[in-house]
């Protein structure tokens, strides 16, 4: 990536004040997305991945750090740059049943972003709606139907058509296929790949499903309790994870033909209200020792890969011994 990245988040922070105390949902995350690049964010619930995604599309404002999109500074989440950026970034949500307005025809839902940004005449917009529905594999004749008449997979296609209506450069997809059945999920993943190639889209793909992430993303960042603990090219990261959390995550995926000796994590994910001292993963880590409780490991980058751990490295045979 010689040119400037499309999106650049630098030490982004988002704290929430709750009656129980301050939650550090996102705590110093740096992430770049290049033009046309597909980046995945994986992590368990509570890892902060959705909060991060929402900040990147200006649905939420960071409490610290900086966020740039192209030449625009979005850190404040307002100003003249925001409206321009909102045309260039869009989002697809997890639940296609909740993200579409049930009162609007699907054609109208797809047209709406163009109406809001006052783009084209009524005829031009109608033509564009037909083109978009066709692009996502729906019959343009369906434009008059309401979401209730559609299946989950079809609804998600409508949500995707709407997300690309303004020819964005970046689409943030938050668990876009996790509500879909396997057979339909594969169709939508193929569609996303086709659209990316056709329109030169960049994706930020948020998911807990590692198989899906491996399929769609060139680069993957693993989040745990508000931090990125490991990141790198997807194939390398999956083939040779170095952070114990990534190792455990990959090992606990129940997949056909998988090694039955899983690295089971001890205990529960700690509460984001009271993260452990030092490394935030240490309470569940099979490599934790004294230093992990004292010092918070920084994300050390080397050769396009980064890992935040005092004891990084591939899984040793002795670590697997005696596990079931």
């Amino acid at each position: 990536m010689s040119e400037a990245p499309l999106l650049e988040a630098d030490r982004l922070v988002r704290h929430f004040r709750t009656p129980q105390g301050r939650v550090q949902a996102v705590d110093g995350v740096s992430l770049t997305i290049g033009r046309g690049e597909a980046v995945a964010l994986v992590g368990e619930s509570g890892s902060g991945k959705s909060t991060l995604a929402r900040m990147l599309v200006c649905l939420d404002r960071p409490t610290g750090g900086t966020l740039r999109f192209g030449e625009h500074d979005l850190t404040r989440g307002r100003g003249p740059g925001l409206r321009a950026v909102r045309r260039r970034v869009s989002m697809v949500f997890q639940d296609p049943y909740a993200s579409l307005d049930g009162h609007l025809s699907i054609g109208r839902s797809v047209e709406e972003p163009m109406l809001i940004h006052r783009i084209g005449t009524a005829d031009e917009r109608a033509a564009k709606v037909a083109e978009l529905l066709d692009a996502v594999g729906l019959d343009p004749e369906m434009a008059d139907r309401r979401p209730a008449a559609l299946s989950g997979g079809q609804r998600q296609r409508v949500a995707i058509a709407r997300a690309i209506a303004l020819d964005p450069e970046l689409v943030v997809l938050d668990e876009p296929v996790s509500a879909l059945d396997v057979s339909v999920q594969a169709q939508v993943l193929n569609l996303l790949a086709d659209l990316r190639e056709r329109y030169g889209l960049a994706y930020l793909f948020v998911s807990h499903d590692l198989g899906v992430v491996r399929h769609v993303a060139e680069r993957t960042a693993v989040m745990q309790l508000g931090r990125i603990v490991e990141q790198g090219p997807t194939e390398q990261l999956f083939a040779q994870p170095r952070h114990p959390y990534t190792i455990a995550l990959l090992s606990s995926a129940m997949e056909i033909g998988a090694d039955e000796r899983r690295i089971a994590l001890e205990g529960e994910p700690p509460s984001p209200l009271r993260p452990p001292s030092g490394c935030r993963f240490r309470t569940r880590c099979f490599r934790a020792d004294a230093i992990c409780a004292e010092a918070d490991p920084a994300l050390e980058e080397e050769g396009g890969r980064g890992v935040a751990c005092h004891h990084p490295g591939p899984l040793a045979a002795r670590e697997l011994a005696g596990r079931t």
């Binding site: 086709d194 399929h215 995550l249």
Partner: protein, 345 residues
């Protein structure tokens, strides 16, 4: 197989809707042996949940059993009265729902809920029941079980709540535990632990398990035998290792290849199954999978094939594996465009 614990024979369920009669379970037959761990896999709308609920007489009132026999432990469930069914459920049959948040009573402590179940089904005094409750929580991998008895459900994480639900399901030494998508709501790292706790604790008590899931990966990790359901029919069944290594029905094979994997070869394009499952009020003539099947021929659209033992419900099944032979690789269906996959309607 010895005398089966559960025998479902020719089960047909019907739901009257404005669109017509929906048949979530159409001539479904299967048996579960004592102590056997069986997986029932299918996509949403395949009828798997209704079928499982009907086996314990818990199908909703609108879902009527139109035909078929269900025999559990020698007793006919279909003709059993409500009182007898209530003794069965919770006593001889434990049930774990998808979402423990709704299954547990939010205003009662976890311990109270387990102790009550124990006392309702087994005549135990309070102290003995409490001791049992502690042992049960320990059996499903809950740390500090004595302290956890005093917790309310909301004070526990999702994984811990689901473990409590499992503890209740196995509390009265059931002979069968039915679990419907017990880990779908949980994080990946917790899923494996919870499903292991479920199967392990049931096996230790000699209970059989019917595990319902859309996830063949999960089913393959813990079950002995797998049943595959599509559009209200059982279409394939067999030893789990065989079903996932050498599926014989094109639907099972397609499900396996459509799942993106974290290991092995990465396909540039996922072999997706075109279209979507049929509306259960209007299933197609012939084989119900034929409209989506890459291998369908004329006969498939005219006559419906039926499951027969390990022979799948398919006129042109993939070959049975030769003993000790290499697994048969799935043939690659021709590449489809996004539009073809959407099965435009």
């Amino acid at each position: 197989m010895s005398e089966p614990l559960l025998h479902v024979d020719g089960l047909r369920l019907e739901i009257a809707t404005p669109r017509g009669t929906v048949v979530p379970s159409d001539d479904v037959s299967f048996a579960i042996a004592p102590g056997e761990v069986v997986g029932l896999v299918g996509e949403s709308g395949s009828g798997k949940t209704m079928t499982a609920l009907a086996t314990i007489g818990m199908n909703p009132a609108a879902c009527v059993r139109a035909a078929g026999r269900i025999v559990f432990d020698g007793r006919d469930v279909a003709t059993a009265g409500e009182a007898e069914l209530r003794r069965l459920r919770g006593g001889r049959i434990g049930y774990v729902a998808q979402d423990a948040t709704t299954a547990l009573n939010p205003v009662l402590r976890v311990g109270t809920q387990i102790v009550e179940t124990l006392r309702a089904h087994l005549e135990l005094d309070r102290a003995t029941a409490r001791e049992r409750a502690v042992a049960l929580l320990r059996a499903v991998g809950i740390p500090e079980p004595e302290a956890r008895l005093k917790a309310y459900p909301h004070e526990l994480s999702g994984g811990m709540r689901q473990r409590v639900a499992i503890a209740i399901a196995i509390s009265c030494e059931p002979r069968l535990v039915i679990a419907d998508e017990p880990t779908t709501a949980l994080d990946v790292t917790v899923q494996a632990q919870v499903v292991d706790a479920l199967v392990h604790s049931a096996r230790e008590r000699g209970a059989a398990v019917l595990l319902i899931s859309h996830d063949l990966g999960l089913i393959s990790a813990v079950t002995d035998r797998t049943l595959v359901m599509y559009a209200g029919r059982l279409i394939e069944q067999g030893a789990t290792a065989r079903v996932v290594r050498a599926p014989r029905h094109p639907y099972t094979a397609a499900l396996l290849t459509a799942t993106p994997r974290i290991r092995g070869e990465k396909a540039a394009r996922l072999p997706a199954i075109p279209g979507r499952p049929p509306d259960l009020a209007a299933v197609p003539a012939g084989c119900r999978f034929a409209p989506r099947c890459a291998f369908a021929r004329e006969r498939c659209r005219a006559e419906e094939p039926r499951l027969d033992g390990d022979a799948p419900a398919c006129w042109f099944p993939r070959p049975a594996p030769v003993a000790g032979g290499a697994p048969t690789p799935a043939p690659a269906p021709s590449a489809a465009t996004a539009r073809e996959e959407a099965g435009r309607v």
